[in-house]
Amino acid sequence: MMDSILMPGAKKALPFSGFLKLGPKRYRLKADSDGAGLKLQSRELDIKTGTIKLDWKGPATAKPKHVIFREGGEFTGAYFDLMSNEKGVEVPAGEYEFFYGIFRNGKGKQVQKFAIVPGKESKKIKVDPGATVTVTMGAPFTFAFKSTQDGSDVNVTGKSVEIFGSAGEHYVMLSDETRSPRSSGANPAPRPAPTSAR
């Protein structure tokens, strides 16, 4: 759960970030040190930046609404929503890691949603000054699960099914959608065409 910030002229808020780009200038924003959040301070930055771009693979209907990356070094507390700009989001040069993502579609009882969190295979990405790094997420999806074999039957433990994306991201808390497997197998060999008994 994150606080959010509404930029000048924007209709949609972004996750609250300690890094702001307002016009051509960039600023560091911080809340007061005792954490009361009663004071905010800003300071102009003079840094080199790069760009992170998200390349979502998979069904367009399941495209996440927010995919948030964060910087863990000098810019701790800076969060960037890659879905805020399809052409790429300008970030300070440094190392980034995937932090959180969410998909939401529909309202009320028809709402469909899932969250995305870093998986064990998620890796940090390095953004060099002036460089554009493309992050691929989504398909091909991997299903990990526990199973037991009982004779010729294979039992998949439902609660153990986990979905991972191509960047190692973990899809969790799926709502209004059951993870039901679609089984497939080789068809038996076609029968020879019936011949006349005569």
Binding site: M1, M2, D3, S4, I5, L6, M7, P8, A10, K11, K12, A13, L14, P15, F16, L22, G23, K25, Y27, R28, L29, K30, A31, S33, G35, A36, G37, L38, K39, L40, Q41, S42, R43, E44, L45, D46, I47, K48, T49, H66, E74, G77, Y79, P92, G94, F99, Y100, R104, K107, G108, V111, A115, V117, P129, H170, V172, M173, L174, S175, D176
Partner: protein, 422 residues
């Protein structure tokens, strides 16, 4: 920081035996301005009276308090702490009382330290006294109080809090001791989480260049100086901040949300929020407009509408520090009596129906005679935040009462799954 023997701890000890089940756990969780801390001090106070004065009545109260803690916070902390305290003999209790008066002195000094009223010499004395007192409590076996002393010793050397003579390495050492005691006692609250993050951040800073190791080389306010967020070097090379730039207060005002739509100015106790964690959904600007209530509450649209329509029955609660809603004109319901406040904010609340879709399943979350769940979302925002002449607006979407705070993390998805989720 709550003092032992304070009004809050005494009231809590009286309230606990009078209640049972959920009511008791609610008291343990939310009573008093400092919430859980009252319960901790109430335990040590009661244990002291129980063993020194042979006050048998307190035995039952202690057991109930320990159970209330378990019910409220799902940890064995108070149980473990009580196990430590019950092994004290008369001499140890005498020593504990004597040391506690020293601890009270340290508490007063800490308040001055936070206000930067201690000079370098006084800070050194403070650190030495905190370290010494931590050793005394550690020898006695009171890990909780020893942990607070080590924390103070660490804070007095923390570069973020001490720009005069900081010693980050030593501060980390003290902080780690404080964390270890909390670990031993199984008391991993928000304080523990915050301190763990702080230690990790300080260790990271220590590993970086020589400027971070010599914070005294620069005056506070200059780039790279401690306490102002300036690091040794920007990742792109050179200084992090623009030349001649300085930290400028971002002037802003708290917008409590519209008066229509059933938003009551209210004050939120942080602990209550943890139990009502929802996924973060970013604010949309129209949602805060007077004509349109929060979109987050759309999980319960029907109830919310009726909530808003029944505006005349709503009561605005304008509470001040350390005053409960009951003393501020709120309905005298048992649950509301124990809400405590820190600062002014507002939120919007709704109650569920018996058919709410949660994670694809229809769930009954309606109120009954004994129990009601209230779902709420913060309505206040910090508007017109002036950053270099441009206005931005900050929302407290995670509901921790702070606008612009770090994300709240749900460990193990609220124990529903493995892993973590913001």
């Amino acid at each position: 920081m709550v003092c032992p023997g304070s009004r809050g701890t005494r009231r809590l000890l009286q309230a606990i035996p009078r209640r049972d089940g959920r009511g008791r756990s609610e008291v343990a969780r939310t009573d008093g301005p400092q919430g859980a801390e009252n319960a901790i001090w109430a335990l040590s106070d009661a244990a002291n009276s129980y063993y020194v004065n042979n006050n048998a009545e307190l035995g039952t109260a202690i057991e109930k308090l320990v159970q209330a803690w378990k019910d409220a916070f799902k940890t064995n902390f108070l149980d473990k702490y009580y196990d430590d305290l019950r092994n004290f003999d008369q001499g140890q209790w005498n020593e504990w009382r004597k040391s506690l008066s020293r601890w009270n002195g340290l508490l007063s000094a800490d308040q001055k330290r936070r206000k930067n009223e201690l000079d370098e010499e006084a800070l050194k004395k403070f650190t030495a006294e905190a370290n010494d007192l931590a050793g005394v409590f550690e020898a006695l076996g009171d890990k909780y109080v020893a942990g607070t002393c080590y924390y103070w010793a660490g804070a007095s050397l923390d570069p973020d809090q001490n720009t005069k003579s900081p010693d980050p390495a030593k501060a980390i050492e003290y902080y780690k001791k404080a964390l270890k005691f909390r670990d031993d006692l199984d008391h991993k609250d928000s304080w523990y989480t915050d301190l763990t993050s702080l230690v990790a951040k300080m260790e990271l800073e220590l590993k970086k260049g020589p400027v971070a190791k010599k914070p005294a080389d620069k005056k506070p306010g200059q780039p790279g100086a401690p306490g102002n967020g300036g690091g040794p070097a920007a990742l792109g090379g050179g200084e992090l901040f623009a030349k001649d730039s300085k930290w400028v207060p971002a002037v802003s005002k708290i917008r409590r949300g519209p008066s229509r739509g059933g938003r009551a100015p209210f004050l939120v106790q942080r602990r209550l929020l943890h139990g009502l964690a929802q996924h973060w959904t970013p604010s949309e600007s129209p949602r805060r407009s007077p004509s349109k209530p929060s979109s987050r509450s759309s999980r319960f649209p029907r109830k919310r509408s009726s909530f808003a329509r029944r505006k005349p029955s709503m009561r605005s609660i304008r509470a001040t520090r350390r005053r409960s809603p009951s003393s501020s004109g709120a309905p005298r319901r048992s649950s509301s009596r124990f809400l405590t406040f820190r600062r002014s904010t507002s939120f919007m609340a709704a109650m569920g129906s018996n058919q709410e879709a949660i994670h694809g399943t229809t769930v009954n979350v309606s109120a009954d005679d004994n129990y009601a769940q209230i779902y709420y979302t913060p309505a206040a925002s910090r508007s017109a935040v002036d950053v270099a002449g441009q206005k931005v607006r900050v929302f407290d979407d995670n509901g921790d009462g702070k606008m612009g705070s770090d994300p709240l993390m749900l460990k193990d998805f609220g124990q529903r799954m493995e892993g973590r989720s913001p």
